[in-house]
Structures are given as C-alpha cells and as structure tokens.
Symmetry: C2
Subunit: 197 residues, 2 copies
Amino acid sequence: MARKRKADHETAIAGALALFWEKGYTGASTREIEEKTGLTRFTLQTAYGGKESFFLATLDSYLNNAEAQHFPDAETFTLSELAEWFESIASEQKIPRVEDAGCLAFNSISQFERSDPEVNARIARYLETLEGRFAAILTREAQAGTVHLPQSPEAAAQVLVGLLLGLHSVIKARTEDAMARSYAAAAAGLMRSWEVS
Amino acid sequence: MARKRKADHETAIAGALALFWEKGYTGASTREIEEKTGLTRFTLQTAYGGKESFFLATLDSYLNNAEAQHFPDAETFTLSELAEWFESIASEQKIPRVEDAGCLAFNSISQFERSDPEVNARIARYLETLEGRFAAILTREAQAGTVHLPQSPEAAAQVLVGLLLGLHSVIKARTEDAMARSYAAAAAGLMRSWEVS
DNA sequence: GCCATTTCTATCCAGCTGGATAGTTTAATT
DNA sequence: AATTAAACTATCCAGCTGGATAGAAATGGC
C-alpha cells in the first residue's frame, strides 16, 4: 500500500558508493546524492535516517562485497598470488572502476579520524579481516615449508597490512601513475623474497 | 609606519599548524584560525592571501622543520636507528605533541587528493625526501656489508616509505594505542631482520 | 605634532550545508 | 471505488562558510 521508489535500494547504494568514493563523505552534498542515486532528500531522511546513516549503509555494502569478492581468500591464496594481488591494486588504477578498485574503508580512515564510533567499528572490521587473512596465508605456507619468513607470521601479516595501507596512500598521493606501480612492485618483491626457491 | 600585529608570523604559523593538524584543512574554519593564531581574518586575507595560501605557508614551515629536525639524517643514520625511529613515531603518539609527532604532509594527502597542484608539489617533496634518505641509508649500509637486503636498496626504500605511510594510517585508524605500536614493532622487526648478525 | 600605512573592529554578503515540512501523487489492500 | 501508507515536489530554515568592506585605532618616519 505504498508508492514505489524511483530508484531501488541496490542502484542507490551503487551510485552512492561511486559518489562517496570520488568526493568523500563531507565532499558529497545531499543535493549531489539526490542526483547520483535517484533518491530524494526526503527518502534519504525518512528511509535511511539522514546522510550519515546512509553512508554507513553504503560502507557496509562495500565491505560485504569486498570481503566476498576482492579480498584474498584465506584458504586458497598463496604468497605468490598475494604478491600479484598487491600489484593488481596499483595497475587497476589505470582502469578506475570505482566499485572494484580502491577502498572506501581506507578513505573513511582519513575522513573521520576516529570521530564516529560507527565508522570506527567498520574500519576495525576492515583491518582485522585483512590482517587475519594475511596471517592465515602466511601461517599455512610457513608450515608447509614453501615460504621462509624473517619474523612471525603475525608480525609479517602486520607488515603486509601496513604496506597495503601505504600503497593506498601512495595511490592517493601519486603525481604519476608509475609511482604507485613502483611501490606495489617493491612490496611484491619483498613478498617474493620470502618464497623458498 | 604601520601598526603592529597582535600575533607575529612565527606564533601564528605555530598555532595554525596545531589547528590544521587537529581539524584538517576543510575542518578548520577561518573563524577558528582567528582564535587559535591571533590573526584576524582581515590580516589572513591581506597579508597571506586567504585561507589556502596561509595553509601552504604553514605546510612549508612544517616541512622545513621536519626535514631539519625530525626526518632521519641520510649521512649518519644506521638501519638500527631507523628501526627505532619507526617505533618512536607510534610511541610518541602517547604524548601527542602536535608539532613534533604525526605528519601534516601525510594528512594533506588524504584531504586534497591531488586536487591542488600547490599541495601536490609539497607532497611530492615529502615523499621524495623520505625515499631518498632511506635509500641513502640502505645503500651505505649495504655497501659496508652491515646489512643484507632481500632486494635493491631503492626497492627496499620504497617498502620503508610504504610502511611509514601505512603506520600513519594505522595511527589515524587505531581503536587502541597498542595497535599502532604493534605495527611499528612489526616494521622495525622487518628492518632488524636485514641486519647482518 | 602630523602623516602615511597597516592592522584592528564590526558588519555585511552570497553561497552552500543538512534537515524539516506541507501538500500532491502513486500504488497496493480492502 | 475508497482507504491508507509511502514517496514525490517544492519550499523554507538556521547555521556556517570564505571573503569583502568601511571606519577607527595604532605605529614609525618625518
């Protein structure tokens, strides 16, 4: 017994993801959200509870998709594939398909700076998931004897998360595209030096 | 033949540094700049050319000070001292003396996202200086035979810059202080694994 | 003591922000 | 066909933004 929305939830979230990615949370005005998502500010308010709640819904959707589709799989990934995954992050920047490349969670770190507990929880989820998967991959390979780590798998996993965040920073900072690729190659080179030849 | 300013250039820049660090560029309003620096918006406009020019002056001042005082010295630093320097970044967060700890240049990366060429130039200077100094330290030690690198000094220097940017990200993202220290320790552990025992 | 110059104070401005509200339109249920 | 719940359009709002401007106050050179 209600009128249909012009834009359904899925396409609205997809449009918002692209907008928040491009402009950031504060940089995306509610008027722009109207344009890019097809939602009205009225619906943004009544159905999603305002701009911030809507952003959190977008961030959740992004994280769910990233964990299922884009993060390395803890069970099957090898260290060699992980090295290629790092390089692909910098190379896919050339074809910036917003939904797949980059990272909305990383962007949120710098935008909110711990000011919002709801955002904090999602950033923590992001970091813990990555660190856990990296550690699982490294532990499995170290036990199998296919890699030789210079430190514990847990510490090495933190090094890799640090390098990933650093790579995202370089991608944001880069004057030239080649710079990000060079950094990704350096990180991949470090990982490959851990492989038992 | 002119009236004296209430706040001189030096103290104004120092106050602005603290404010921009805390709130970011967009987050710091010109009214707040008035309060924290002692400048008036009138002077901000006439003497500095507006908010953005003033920010650039602040960023320059920060970089000059950082390069002279806080960045590792290319001629004298050992890899061991570099490892300690990484750890000190996370530990000094406990005593957040804004001017010394953290990094205004790093914050600017996420805030401007390549939108401003003037800011870009300063970020490039920041990254190049760090990468150059790290490479110099690693090259010197590798040639002396005191460290054994898993890759070229240049690639290893990029790994270290990546880890430094990643560490700054974790500091911003951290739910708990211990997390940043743990990441710094992991990075330091990697560096120490390169030392010839 | 006067003058030129700069900074100060005090307003004013247009533009944008997220949000609220009132009245209209649409659709599914009965 | 009547009812009802939700989304639509179109305003309106106070608050804040960076910046402009006019007149008063202060300072150093003469």
